[in-house]
């Protein structure tokens, strides 16, 4: 599927701030099933953006605004072709180990054991997701970005980030390599989170919040051990100001590529 997206965050500060350093992770991940046809990141105030890959291969853009400003905007737009959402990338053993936000407590351990073992990895993940649908409720505002899998699980409610953390904790507990994914999907007005698990041969995406396998309507931005490795933006500035954050996201399907792009691809 060919998807066109525009993601924008506008932060307004109640008073002027300066010496503003930031790090963005808002460019789609490039791998064998995601091909970036066109992409652009822009920031206001304008400044030098430097690009690199983090240790998990996600694309980072960093910058520094020295002068006073009372608003900061970054925008990522692009056209991307998405395939079958399967990757034969090698397993980093790290994804077998619990991380800061996914360290399980007894309740998660017990729940993981209750699912049983006599089935394929994919079947197991689906059972886990069914279990979560029955025992965990979607509710925004109940948790925050620092909430751990164990905290969310005992609370019994949360958002996509919490679904993903709990699912990852349970997978790792029974020996399945699993990682956190941050991205966009058709029909969502903000970023979404899901998981990837390794079935012994390849990495597969699963969305525990919506209880379904990830398909070509999902755009992957970053992956990592947990949310901490995937934040879409982090920043620090000098000044005492209240921040008002407005996020907009539009993802739509393109029936066919715009003309110039078709030409470019043919030329390659």
């Amino acid at each position: 599927m060919i998807l066109k997206y525009t993601y924008r965050t506008l932060i307004t500060f109640s008073t002027q701030v300066s010496s503003h350093t930031f790090m963005l992770r808002c460019t789609p991940y490039a791998n064998e099933y995601q091909r970036l046809i066109e992409h652009k990141t822009s920031v206001i105030p304008n400044c030098l953006l430097t690009r690199s890959n983090d240790t998990f291969g996600s694309i980072l853009e960093t910058g520094y605004v020295a002068d006073m400003h009372d608003a900061f905007m970054f925008e990522s737009t692009g056209i991307i072709e998405i395939g079958n959402n399967r990757s034969i990338e090698k397993v980093n053993p790290l994804f077998h180990y619990h991380s800061e936000l996914t360290t399980p407590d007894m309740a998660i351990r017990d729940a993981a054991r209750l699912i049983g073992m006599d089935m394929s990895v994919t079947e197991w993940v689906m059972r886990l997701s069914d279990y979560l649908q029955g025992h965990f409720q979607y509710e925004s505002g109940a948790t925050n970005v620092k909430t751990t899998a164990s905290e969310a699980f005992s609370l019994g409610k949360g958002v996509c980030q919490d679904y993903a953390h709990i699912a990852i904790a349970m997978c790792r507990e029974v020996g399945i390599a699993a990682r956190y994914v941050n991205g966009f999907m058709i029909g969502e007005g903000a970023t979404h989170a899901w998981i990837e698990y390794h079935d012994g041969e390849r990495w597969l995406g699963f969305d525990p919040t919506n209880n379904r396998p990830v398909d070509d309507t999902y755009i992957k931005i970053a992956h990592g051990r947990d949310f901490n490795d995937c934040s879409i933006n982090r920043g620090r500035f000098n000044g005492i100001a209240e921040q008002n954050i407005k996020v907009t996201l539009m993802v739509e399907q393109l029936k066919k590529l715009p003309k110039e792009q078709t030409k470019q691809i043919k030329n390659q």
């Binding site: 350093t21 790090m23 998990f56 910058g63 520094y64 180990y97 982090r234």
Partner: protein, 439 residues
């Protein structure tokens, strides 16, 4: 040899107070600075004893540096089955962000503080390797400076290695790793750090800039020092006295107000040297300690000169059974703790406590190491006008630049409590100068 010096002990302590030789500790949530008591009787290490120790320390630090280079790239030592994967990936000090990064000149541990004790038969045992930000070198430095001032005649006849060139060793090492001939700085978290005295003293002696976190910023993946009038000067080497997790809020602990945002990116691109490198915690983890003699054999193909204290890893079933049976005579340590915290002696525990700790060992075997209690030698200290014997250890400093060099001195710490075996400045106690004899 030092009788005359002892008559000057009060003068020396007074000077130290004037210089602000202090040590800060957090107790019950409040920051308290206290005098780090100096005992005028030096620890004397004979030349032959030192020669052996020096060889052993160089060897150990070279192996640890080889381990760090390997762990963040090929991981041969895991593939070859010498170190179990578990001890790397579940170590708090392992930073996946550092994968594939080779620091300037390939050095990870530029300044290593190796803690040793000497047993009654003269054997030295390593208790701990400190490869992150080992502190304490400034204390024997200033002690030597002041004792020479208070009693110059003591040093006329004594053939003691001078120890005042530590700052020059640091400077040479920083010059060696410096990227693009930039500015060299010591980055201090600030006034309320327990070792602030040391940060400012070392910066002055080494002739480098003492920088506070706000003085530095990153633009275009390069680090700059902000001058008085906001002009920028490129920074080439940072001796940071700030731990990994607080160094860069963009990559690590986001709530850190002390760090320099995006410093990690500049480092990853090879645009600045960071002393010591990030991610060293994976090599001075108390669990990894067990494997250091094996590293010497693996990387250097040599027989380890220095001994570890006899150590058991409950991770291995055989060791676990031994620990469970002999807990009453062992010392048990939490691998995640430092500064003398999380250290428990089996002989101090009652039946109930022993059972509780055994349960912890059974349920979280990876979290603990157990060691035989070494009967290490007592050193003489002055308690008022009386000479008494107290437990003491030695922190030796090894500087790795163009070559690996051992500083011919070190921090000797002693406990004031006659019953205590825990020698750590965070736990009270005092220090001595360490004299290494030139012949």
């Amino acid at each position: 040899m030092y009788t005359r010096l002892l008559t000057q002990k009060d003068a020396v302590n007074k000077w130290m107070e004037r210089y602000g030789v202090r040590f800060g500790i957090y107790k019950n949530g409040t920051f308290k600075e206290q005098i780090f008591p100096f005992d005028a009787i030096p620890r004397v290490i004979s030349n032959s004893d030192w020669t052996e120790l020096e060889k052993g320390l160089k060897q150990r630090v070279d192996a640890l540096n080889a381990f760090l280079r390997d762990i963040y790239t090929e991981k041969r030592i895991i593939k070859d089955g010498v170190v179990p994967e578990d001890f790397v990936y579940s170590s708090k000090g392992y930073l996946p962000q550092c994968e594939g990064i080779t620091p300037s000149k390939g050095i990870f541990s530029h300044i290593s503080g190796i803690d040793l004790v000497q047993a009654e038969d003269g054997t030295w045992y390593v208790l701990e390797d400190n490869l992150r930000i080992p502190s304490g070198a400034s204390y024997p430095m200033i002690a030597r400076q002041l004792t020479r001032k208070a009693s110059p005649e003591t040093f006329d006849g004594a053939k003691v290695f001078d120890n005042r060139d530590y700052a020059r060793m640091i400077r040479e090492m920083m010059d060696h790793v410096n990227v693009d001939n930039g500015l060299e700085v010591i980055l201090t978290p600030g006034r309320y750090n327990s070792a602030f005295f040391e940060h400012s003293y070392l910066a002055e002696k080494a002739g480098v800039v003492l920088a506070f976190p706000d003085d530095l910023f990153v633009d275009g993946d390069k680090v700059y020092y902000k001058g008085l009038f906001n002009e920028r000067e490129r920074v080439g080497a940072i001796y940071r006295r700030l731990s990994d997790e607080y160094l860069d809020p963009m990559t690590f602990e986001r709530s850190s107000l002390l760090g320099v945002p995006n410093l990690f990116q500049a480092y990853a691109k090879g645009n600045v040297a960071i002393v010591n490198a990030l991610g060293n915690g994976v090599a001075d983890d108390k669990g990894i300690y067990y494997f250091v003699p094996k590293m010497v054999e693996y990387y250097l193909n040599e027989k380890p000169i220095l001994k570890n204290a006899p150590t058991y890893l409950p991770f291995y079933e055989k060791d676990r059974n031994y620990v469970l049976e002999n807990l009453h005579k062992l010392v048990i340590k939490d691998v995640a703790e430092a500064g003398g915290y999380g250290v428990m002696f089996g002989r101090d525990m009652d039946e109930k406590r022993l059972e509780e700790v055994k349960e912890l060992v059974r349920t979280q075997p990876r979290r603990w190491i157990a060691q035989e209690v070494i009967n290490f030698i007592d050193l003489e200290i002055m308690e008022g006008d009386e000479r008494v014997m107290r437990k003491a250890d030695l922190r030796a400093f090894v500087v790795s630049g163009k070559e690996t060099k051992v500083w011919p001195s070190g921090l000797t710490r002693f406990t004031r409590d006659p019953k205590s075996f825990v020698v750590n400045s965070s736990q009270g106690g005092g220090f001595k100068d360490t004299w290494v004899m030139a012949e």
